[in-house]
C-alpha cells in the first residue's frame, strides 16, 4: 500500500517537473525572497516592503526568508546555489560587493558571476557627522585636522567592511591619513556613542543623520553622494568639500541565481519597476528616509555594471591600504 503510494507520488512528481519545463507563465507558485540580513534590520524592512508589493503584482505568495551568516555570505551563497528559475531571489545591500574584498571566507565568491542582477531598489549616500562639541568649524578645518593628527580623531563604524568602514577608508586613502577607527556592532551603537560624545566622527546613514542634525545633537560635514540632499541643502557634497574618489552610496538590490532565463528576469524587473512607482511603497520609503533609485538605473544591466564597478573599487582600496587580514 505504502509502496504504491510512494510510486504514485514519484511518478506524479516526474510528470509535474516535465510540465514545469514547458510552462510559459511565470510565476505560477510561491516566490521566496531571501534576505541575507537578520529580521528587523533596515535591509529586512526593504525586503518585506518589496515582497508585499511583488506579491500583489504577481498575485502569488511572496515569502521573506532571513538566511543570516558571515556578513550575508551564507544567504548569498544559498541563493547562488538555488535553482535558477526565478522562484528564489536575493535581496541584499552594499555588503554584497564588499564581502569578497574584506572577508577571507568570501574570497572565492564572485557576486558578478554567481548571481543574475534584476534591479537596484534604492541608493542613498552617507553623511559625515561628528559629536556636537567636536572642535571643528567646517569641512575645510576638519580636513586640515585629519591631515595634521589623524590618530587623535576617533572614527566609529558599525562593522569591519561595512558601509561606514569603507566610507572612512576611502577618506583615509584620499587624505593619506588614517583616523583611529573604533569598531561597533551596528550603526545604532555608533550613533549612541556620537551622541554621548565618546567618539568623534561617523559616516551615518541618511535618515539617521538628518534627524540628528536637525535636532542639533550632531554636527554634519558633507554628503558622500554625487549631489546634495534636499533635506540638508547646506551640506556640501564630498567632492565640493575638496575630496575626490571617496564618494560612496549604500544601496539595496534584487538578484536571482546565475543562469536564470532572461525572460524571467525581465518579468521580475518590470514588476519591481511597478513596485517603485506604487504610492504606498513610496510613502513607506520616504518614512525610512529612502528614495527609489533613479529611473535610468533600474535595468538589470545597470545593477550588473554597478556591482562589477564596486567589486573592483573595494578590491583596489583593500590592496592599497593593506587593511586585509593576512
Amino acid at each position: 500500500m505504502r509502496i504504491v503510494r510512494v510510486a504514485a507520488v514519484a511518478a506524479a512528481a516526474l510528470w509535474m517537473s516535465a510540465v514545469a519545463v514547458c510552462a510559459e507563465g511565470f510565476p505560477e507558485r510561491q516566490i521566496t525572497i531571501v534576505v541575507a540580513a537578520p529580521a528587523g534590520g533596515p535591509t529586512d524592512t526593504f525586503g518585506r516592503i518589496i515582497a508585499e508589493s511583488l506579491g500583489k503584482t504577481f498575485n502569488q505568495r511572496v515569502l521573506v526568508e532571513n538566511v543570516v551568516g558571515a556578513g550575508g555570505l551564507v544567504g548569498s551563497r544559498h541563493v547562488a546555489s538555488s535553482a535558477p528559475d526565478g522562484y528564489t531571489l536575493l535581496l541584499y545591500n552594499t555588503a554584497l560587493t564588499s564581502l569578497p574584498a574584506f572577508l577571507k571566507a568570501a574570497k572565492d565568491f564572485d557576486p558578478s558571476t554567481a548571481l543574475t542582477p534584476i534591479g537596484l531598489i534604492n541608493e542613498a549616500p552617507f553623511v559625515l557627522v561628528s559629536r556636537v562639541d567636536f572642535p571643528s568649524s567646517g569641512p575645510g578645518d576638519l580636513i586640515a585636522r585629519l591631515r595634521d593628527d589623524p590618530a587623535s580623531i576617533r572614527m566609529g563604524h558599525g562593522g569591519f567592511g561595512g558601509g561606514a568602514h569603507i566610507c572612512g577608508l576611502l577618506l583615509a586613502r584620499a587624505l593619506k591619513a588614517q583616523p583611529n577607527f573604533v569598531a561597533y556592532r551596528g550603526a545604532a551603537a555608533v550613533m549612541t556613542d556620537i551622541l554621548g560624545g565618546h567618539i568623534d566622527l561617523f559616516c551615518a546613514q541618511t535618515a539617521d543623520a538628518i534627524n540628528n542634525i536637525n535636532s542639533k545633537s550632531v554636527k554634519g560635514f558633507w554628503v558622500t553622494g554625487p549631489a546634495r540632499l534636499n533635506q540638508l541643502a547646506d551640506l556640501p557634497t564630498i567632492a565640493e568639500a575638496g575630496i575626490s574618489g571617496a564618494d560612496i552610496s549604500a544601496w539595496h538590490g534584487l538578484f536571482a541565481p546565475a543562469g536564470t532565463p532572461a525572460e524571467t528576469v525581465k518579468v521580475i524587473n518590470s514588476a519591481l519597476a511597478k513596485t517603485l512607482q506604487d504610492p504606498a511603497v513610496l510613502s513607506r520609503f520616504e518614512s525610512l528616509g529612502a528614495t527609489p533609485v533613479a529611473v535610468d538605473r533600474r535595468s538589470p544591466e545597470a545593477l550588473g555594471k554597478h556591482v562589477k564597478a564596486e567589486l573592483a573599487r573595494w578590491k583596489d582600496l583593500v590592496a592599497e591600504l593593506s587593511v586585509e587580514q593576512e
Binding site: 507520488v9 514519484a10 506524479a12 512528481a13 509535474m16 517537473s17 514545469a20 505560477e28 507558485r29 510561491q30 521566496t32 505568495r61 515569502l63 521573506v64 526568508e65 587580514q325
Partner: protein
Amino acid sequence: MKTDRPTSNSKARLLPIIQDQNFAAGLLLVAIAISAYALTRDLARPSNGVGPATLPEWLSLALGVSGAALLTAAIYKPGVRFERAMLRGPALIILAVLMFASTIRGVSFAGVSIPGLGLLFAGPVAIMISGYASPDVRFDQLLGLALGLTAFCMLLFGDLLNLPIPILPQPLVDLLPASWSAKADLRLSAAALGAAAVLILVAWPNSTRRSST
C-alpha cells in the same frame, strides 16, 4: 543541578584518581584551554594594545590554570565518583535532532544528499526516534503523538505564525492541484495527519489499556 553522589561518606572512601569527577573535569578544562590556544595561534598580534588574540589567550591560560587546580584537587582530596552513564537516551536524542535537521529542508553533505521532506515528515521522524530514548515507550501512543503533534505544529507555525518553515515536500506539493493555495495544501495535510492520529489512538488494540507509570 546536583550530580549524583553514590554514598554520603564517599569522601572517606579511597577513590582511584581516574574515577574522580574532578579529575575528568580538570582534564576537560585543560583540553579546552590547549585547543583554544592552538586555534588562536594564527591571529594577528599587534605590537601594542589589545588585538583579536589577546582575550582568548588570557582566557585559555586562566582555564588551563583552573583545570590544573581541579586535577590537583582530585589527586590530594578524593571527591565524587564520576559514574559512567547509560548513553542510549542521549544518543537517540542526538539522532532524532540530526534527523530532523537533515530532512526538514534537505542537505547535501560529502556527496550524500537528503531531499527536503518538510515538517510533514521531519516532525514524526524526530518524535518517533526520540521516543525510544525512554525505556517505557509505547509504540501506539508515540505514533499518535507524532502524527497529532505534527499536525498541530503545522497549523501553529506554518498557518498561524506564518514562519517560513518548509511544511510539505515539493513532490507532494506538485501532486496536489496547482489551483490550491499553499495554505490550503497545508491545512488539508494537517487535517489528514490529525485524523490519522485520532484513528490510531482510538482504534489501536492496546490503547484502551492505560499504562501505570
